[in-house]
Amino acid sequence: MSGAKLRVAITDDEAPARNRIKNLLDDVSEMVPIELVGEADNGRKLLELLQKHPADVVLLDIRMPEMDGLEAARHLQKLDEPPHVVFTTAYDDYAVSAFELHAIDYLVKPIRLRRLHDALSRARSITRISLDVLSEVGPEARTHLSIQERGKVKLVPVAEILYLRAELKYVTIRTAQRELLLEESLSSLEEEFGDRFVRIHRNCLVAREFIEAFEKESKSGAEARWVIRVRDVEEALPVSRRQQHIVRQLGKKPG
């Protein structure tokens, strides 16, 4: 290992668990030079932390509120230089067996000094985990979408997205405040977030929760068509002829 210190970040929602890792890192630092860049109590905060303080290794708990470890690892891969991820877990046998299958580094809690030392020692030699593998290990819908911007990762909570619209090779994410471009396909997004969004047009998914009204819009000379009004948005979204049945389905709910 080169003379530079290994930069490590800790992520765990439980303070005692973070303290324990800090104690162990102190012990390890006698053998491997280490710099603790910071700690976070969930995946989203880890990503914020890393924007300011890049790390070589993140110790990442799996089960955390807001954004769990598996999802955080997916967003991390969009960084210019993604850190090496070592998952820590108390007991998630499904994940552990998947990790073994894909040679993903993990530590079981309570963590042993020896194992932590080994994991940190080989941290620089292991290649990054592929996104496909991570989505396979944690197939549940993400809580955030991530966009890479100049080497940084910007997170958009899925709960804030009003609609998603496909445009050429991108998907536009629309929230109440802003519009962002995402490099994913609308159909894979529909598959992942089908509970939350409904397809109203070949190129558009709308969050059911934010639909305010259905209106019949008639232009002179053209046939009347259904449009959807979404909260906080001026523009009305057209419903395609093929998807008109959803107006009847969703129209039943109040508002």
Binding site: D13, E14, A15, P16, A17, N19, R20, N23, D41, N42, R63, P65, E66, D68, E71, A90, Y91, D92, Y94, V108, K109, P110, I111, G138, E140, A141, R142, T143, P157, V158, A159
Partner: protein
Amino acid sequence: MASISQNAPANSLPDFRNLGVILRIFVIVTASTLVAAALGNHAIARWLEASAAAIAFVLPVTIISLLILGMATSWLRRIDYRVAVVCIVLVELVIVTGIVQFVWLLIPEEDGLINIARYWLFTVLLALALIGYFDLRNRALSPALAEARLQALQARIRPHFLFNSLNAVLSLMRAEPRRAETALEDLSELFRVLMADNRKLIPLEQELELCRQYLAIETLRLEDRLNVEWHLDDLPDEAMVPPLILQPLLENAVYHGIEPSAQPGTISIHIKQNSERLEMILSNPVPKMTRSQSGNKMALANIEERLQLHFDAEATLATKSEDGRFEVRIILPCVKGER
């Protein structure tokens, strides 16, 4: 006392005071009477008439029998099985004879001797059939009891909880050895109960103490994310409950209601007495927008099964999800301890 296991009966006779047992007896007796009436009378009209007469006779016999057997239950279940069976058959014969004599006083009948022999035969056959049925049922349930206990041992405490707790204790070792000591004491107490013979009822207060120890361990990890509200309104002092009836529910509440949320959440526990019933209501918040947890209904199914083994139809467990909270409501007979 109303438990099938608490008195450790020497034989497989049922508890004749148990609602489920009483219901079963009524159903079987009535059905047998209808069938017996059908054997002698092929025409529907005749059958209906004969059935009505037979049931008018059988019901008082059944009610009187249950009153007497109910009073003698604990004695009957302690003595030798064969002796108990003979006693029951004799008691039934006496009751039947008594009622038959009473009816004949009102409506005199010819061929009395032949007829009473038929009544006796029916009584003996039915009594033995019922005793045989309860014996079979007991045999079918006994392995289930042992199995439920085993399954309980495995499923009760999530490995997730054990390892996270050990981890939390380890983290305290260097900085706060005294808290680590307390935590390990609580943890051992929890495991002592888990590994004990869990078939006997325990005082409610003991279960509540266990819950407090469990929550102390969880607070160590979750700190101020975990809040607990206790509502215990004048609890009966010596109420007895199946062990580990509340703790696994609390564990569920923490796992599904508190851990997945970054915001603090409150678990509330209401326990109150309603005449002869003990009502326990436990509720936890249901966090929004989390990735799906591997939710297993093991704990709930496990408790429901044990409630049934202990109290048959007299205990119920119901759940509902409302206004962002998940609620489990358990109603069980208020059993007093003999101390």
